[in-house]
Assembly symmetry: C2
Homo-oligomer: 287 residues x 2
């Protein structure tokens, strides 16, 4: 049982975790902190949090668990703010979409107390943001990746893993480096690719005509382009090196397809489309 | 009322049109033609067609309407095959995803009889293919674009428009050139971009690990990569010029983002993500 849970950043991700833990009977009192007072008032009204704190520093006093669910670019400041006020046995985890940068920020802020910080990343779609989109079942059947530190006691890692399992998630572990490499490919690059495609269209003089005829394929392909711009700016910069490599690989693949198309190489195009189609269907035949 | 409808290519697109027209009471007898006898037998069993014809040439005798729903690469051969056998008042339309190439094929095959061919393109998702995926409501609320020819009598265009409206679709008209330019951007490029991304991953030695952690954003972004490889090979080649232009514009936009990321230009990245996110939400806030 968590006696006092502090959620810093009460949006879709943090709010859904709070709702899920409450529904699972795993938490007694939930304190919310955030930039927008209106958003926090809505979180109280929706039953997501019990109390609004004026600052992260004030909120963590007496806490036994802190969840940081702010954009990754805001993590260093939050970690610096809470570091001097964390109770001795209080664990801290985060929901950041990149891990090496958050670990570096925690290392800088918490120094000798780094063992209390267990880095995590719940894999849950976030085209909609804000506490109004929060749902107790957001993590049901979803994956959460923890990237434990050498400094973490096994019991601390297990406590955070149990927290996410109580939310309905499956928990995996890997290194922060492996996490950032994998998610550059399967999450960060697709987001940039979708932003690029929609921005390319939106900047045209005939943009309205183009959008008018866009169908369901375009709808699905570009859904993630509706994601939160500030959050994705932070993620891209935080995972810059891996993401630059992915962008280069993707541009090279597009250039290869361009070459096949320019030469009218039907067999070459079909081979690529065939391999992609089969891989996509093998991955998830019914989605 | 259509007395004898011939559907050449009884898959998702042709089959759904047949089901919709039958449900609307607009057709008396439906004849199917296709490469796969098994597929045609299934179409009979599912009530999509009433009769299997041995060839397109045999099927069109006595027909008053012919729908060509084969991959665009197969259109020239089908048009050549049916041309000598079309009854005098029989109209022909198609469901091809590109229009200039199909019009050129019709012009070559039908010569003086070109007025009977009204080119069309129903905008309906097709990640699933085959007659088993056909649904009477596939076109409900969807758009169908007709690209009429100077040779078409207004009554012929109106008859084909009425057919699609009976299927529940909204019908728009534009030139074949405008169609191919617009769909290169909002459909053909997204498909190539999705194929490229999945193929890039699928070719890696650690592909399984990457796919294991792919989430809902990846699912939506890559859904269209499950599309029919042969169909998309044909579409890409048929609309090669417009699509090469779109690929170039897209690669340039990705290079621009790459440059901003490499320089750590947070404001520049956020501006692009912001414009894309707003455009995507303005286009369709609830999808």
């Amino acid at each position: 049982m968590i006696e006092r849970l502090v959620v810093v950043g009460v949006g879709l991700i943090g709010g859904s975790c709070a709702l899920a833990l409450r529904r699972a009977g795993q938490v007694r009192h939930i304190v919310g902190v955030g930039r927008s007072r209106d958003n926090l008032r809505e979180a109280v009204k929706l039953g997501v949090i019990d109390e609004i704190a004026d600052s992260a520093a004030a909120a963590v006093r007496g806490a036994d668990l802190v969840l940081l669910a702010v954009p990754v670019g805001a993590m260093p400041a939050v970690l610096r703010e809470i570091a001097p006020h964390l109770p001795k046995d209080c664990l801290v985890t985060d929901a950041g979409s990149t891990k090496q940068d958050v670990v570096a920020a925690a290392r800088a802020a918490l120094a000798g107390g780094l063992g209390r910080f267990v880095p995590g990343h719940p894999i849950a779609g976030a085209e909609n943001s804000g506490v109004a989109a929060a749902r107790a079942d957001l993590y049901q059947g979803r994956q959460v990746v923890l990237t434990p530190l050498a400094e973490n006691a096994p019991a601390a890692v297990e406590r955070i893993a149990a927290l996410w399992r109580a939310c309905g998630a499956e928990v995996a572990q890997m290194s922060a480096e492996a996490h950032d490499r994998i998610f550059a490919a399967v999450s960060h690059l697709p987001h940039l690719a979708a932003f690029a495609l929609v921005d390319d269209l939106a900047g045209r003089s005939e943009a309205d005509t183009y959008f008018r005829y866009a169908g369901s394929g375009f709808r699905d392909f570009t859904r993630i382009a509706g994601s939160h711009p500030e959050m994705w700016r932070d993620i891209a910069l935080a995972n810059r090196e891996a993401l630059l490599g992915e962008l280069d690989a993707y541009i090279a693949e597009l250039e290869q397809i361009r070459g096949l198309l320019a030469r009218g190489d039907a067999a070459g195009l079909e081979a690529i489309f065939q391999r992609a189609s089969r891989a996509r269907k093998d991955w998830n035949p019914n989605s």
